[in-house]
């Protein structure tokens, strides 16, 4: 099962959805790497998992909750200080519409 599972076109589409600008060379490279990973998945698929509960996370503990209590540790200035651009009130970004 070493046939191509993911074309370079599909890699290009996923890249554009993730806002990544890839050169053709990189598309080829990643298509190859991703196909290797998918082939390995085929190997895993050979195992019968009929009675195994799906695992969504390798972390074993569950149900971490917080109380519904307000906490404010940082001022607005401190939060906005990390932004590339702000006017002291808003985050400022290139116009979107």
């Amino acid at each position: 099962m070493s046939d191509v599972k993911l074309s370079t076109d599909e890699v290009a589409k996923v890249a554009s959805l993730a806002r990544l600008d890839l050169s053709d060379k990189k598309k080829e490279l990643f298509a190859g790497q991703l196909n290797n990973i998918l082939s390995y998945m085929d190997k895993l698929n050979e195992i019968d998992t009929k009675d195994v509960e799906p695992m969504f996370s390798p972390v074993e503990h569950t149900t971490v909750l917080r109380k519904d209590v307000i906490i404010k540790e940082h001022t607005r200035d401190e939060i906005l200080a990390n932004a590339p651009d702000s006017d002291g009130q808003y985050f400022v970004v290139p116009r979107i519409v």
Partner: protein
């Protein structure tokens, strides 16, 4: 001509009334300065970890219980990936596989187009928890967009229905019923205009008898029940027109324009809906303990459907009245408070359905700020009931005492509006009316018995509405017999 059937499914986003956001300790308070309620978690800084607010889980589960859902013992969070500046992480944390609630239903009752009462069961596919996005302001002049993240991370539940509705009446009845339950549970404001209760309408048409669904459009941006109605009517006509012209319906998101009453395509990119959901590794699975579920179940308040049945049984009022009075929790509370002071359920119901609702709808304030307290309402109904004032006077003064919150007993006394049952003064008024209208008296004696109401009206005018109608009516008939 092919007859078409409409198929409607609804997605409701309800903002939950928690103190803090879904995954961080920021306040959810509305109307703060921009970016005042923002921290490193909800602004999407690298390396931070979201932690679920326990109230969000509780409220979502309570809504699930109220809509007959199965509460999944285990549920997980997923990332819904898309880029927009009001969602700084580049994904929305939502639920996809294993949502908290599934497989519920809601019984609705409504009147169809011809006014016939109908009942129907609508399936609730799922309820899941997710975070809200922020708000953007766009400036052409500055060629920039300004982002306020105060709303980013405010908790939402999304309630998804089965495509079980077949017309606008059913869709609106379902939405009203959901909203009513949210208000009874006290977990959401239910304000459509301010966006704490948002509904997206999935709608398609198909020829009658066809199994398969037609291609659907998703309508957004609808901020009142009346507009839900209008948007559905417009969209159904648009889709049928296209099909009859031999054109294809495109699956797309369309925005409702309230001013024009039309819908138009968002013209999004083709891949706008490619969200690439996957389990969020930052959040561990949520496992709901049996004892929590038992606790929530035990703490469920009386819900609209139960209250309606109790009203019908205990107060012996009609199903219609019970429906009306229990649809909004605060109206039902008000009604019961009036009955505490004056226990005449049918008479109180009539006043609330009539003059009271008219004034309440016209005033800009909600019932919580209403100055006309239940005891005042009780006094008014009792005064009319016991012939202290006439029904007409009660209606005439209602606007004034309602608006200012005045004690009806004192108001009536101060203005001298008590009903006149004094037979000598009433007799004088009756005599005057009969003397002033000889032609009508003649006609009455000639057999036009209906004229008694004309004489009644004239006597009421003469006595400024204060005459006791029972006494006057008897008097007129005696004098003319």
């Amino acid at each position: 001509m092919v007859q078409f059937e409409t198929v409607i499914g609804l997605e409701v986003h309800a903002q939950l009334k928690t103190n803090t956001k879904i995954f961080c300790g920021c306040s959810t308070q509305f109307g703060k300065e921009p970016n005042e309620n923002v921290c490193e978690v909800c602004s999407g800084m690298p390396g931070v970890l979201p932690v679920l607010n326990e109230k969000v889980m509780e409220y979502a589960a309570k809504m699930g219980l109220a809509t007959n859902c199965i509460i999944n013992k285990k549920s997980i969070f997923a990332r819904k990936n898309y880029f927009y500046p009001d969602l700084p992480k580049g994904y929305q944390i939502s639920q996809f596989e294993l949502p908290i609630c599934e497989h519920g239903h809601l019984n609705i009752s409504y009147e169809d187009k011809s006014g016939e009462p109908c009942k129907k069961r609508i399936g609730v596919t799922r309820i899941h928890m997710e975070e809200d996005a922020g708000k953007n302001i766009h400036s052409v002049a500055e060629n920039a967009s300004f982002v306020d993240l105060n709303r980013t991370g405010v908790p939402l539940i999304e309630i998804v229905s089965e495509p079980d509705m077949r017309n606008a009446e059913e869709a609106v009845a379902y939405l009203k019923s959901l909203r009513s339950i949210l208000l009874y549970l006290d977990i959401c404001d239910g304000n459509l205009e301010e966006g704490s209760f948002r509904c997206d309408v999935n709608i398609s048409v198909r020829p009658f008898g066809q199994e398969e669904f037609g291609t659907r459009a998703e309508l957004k941006n609808i901020n009142s029940f009346r507009n839900v109605h209008k948007a559905i009517h417009y969209e159904v006509a648009r889709q049928i027109d296209l099909i009859e012209d031999g054109e294809k319906i495109i699956q797309e998101t369309r925005l409702y324009d309230a001013d024009k009453g039309t819908t138009h395509s968002m013209r999004g990119k083709a891949d706008a809906h490619d969200y690439r959901y996957f389990p969020d590794p930052d959040l561990v699975p949520l496992v709901i303990a049996d004892e929590w579920l038992a606790e929530w179940q035990a703490a469920q308040p009386e819900l609209p459907a139960e209250r309606k049945v109790r009203f019908e049984e205990d107060f012996k009022i009609s199903e219609d009245d019970a429906d009306f009075l229990t649809a909004e929790k605060d109206i039902a509370d008000y009604y019961e408070a009036v009955l505490d002071s004056y226990n005449e359920p049918k008479k109180v119901a009539n006043w609330i359905k009539g003059d009271f609702m008219k004034e309440l709808n016209q005033s800009e304030v909600g019932l919580s700020e209403c100055k006309f307290k239940p005891e005042m309402m009780a006094t008014l109904v009792e005064m009319v009931d016991k012939d202290v004032i006439s029904n007409k006077i009660g209606k005439d003064i209602f606007n004034e005492i309602f608006t200012a919150g005045l004690d009806p007993a004192k108001f009536v006394k101060d203005k001298g509006l008590e009903q006149n049952s004094d037979s000598s003064s009433l007799e004088a008024a009756v005599d005057k009316v009969l003397a002033d209208n000889p032609n009508e008296v003649e006609a009455y004696k000639g057999g036009k018995k209906k004229l008694v109401s004309f004489f009644m009206g004239q006597v009421m005018k003469e006595t400024k509405g204060q005459a006791n109608p029972g006494i006057v009516s008897k008097m007129i008939q005696q004098k003319l017999s």
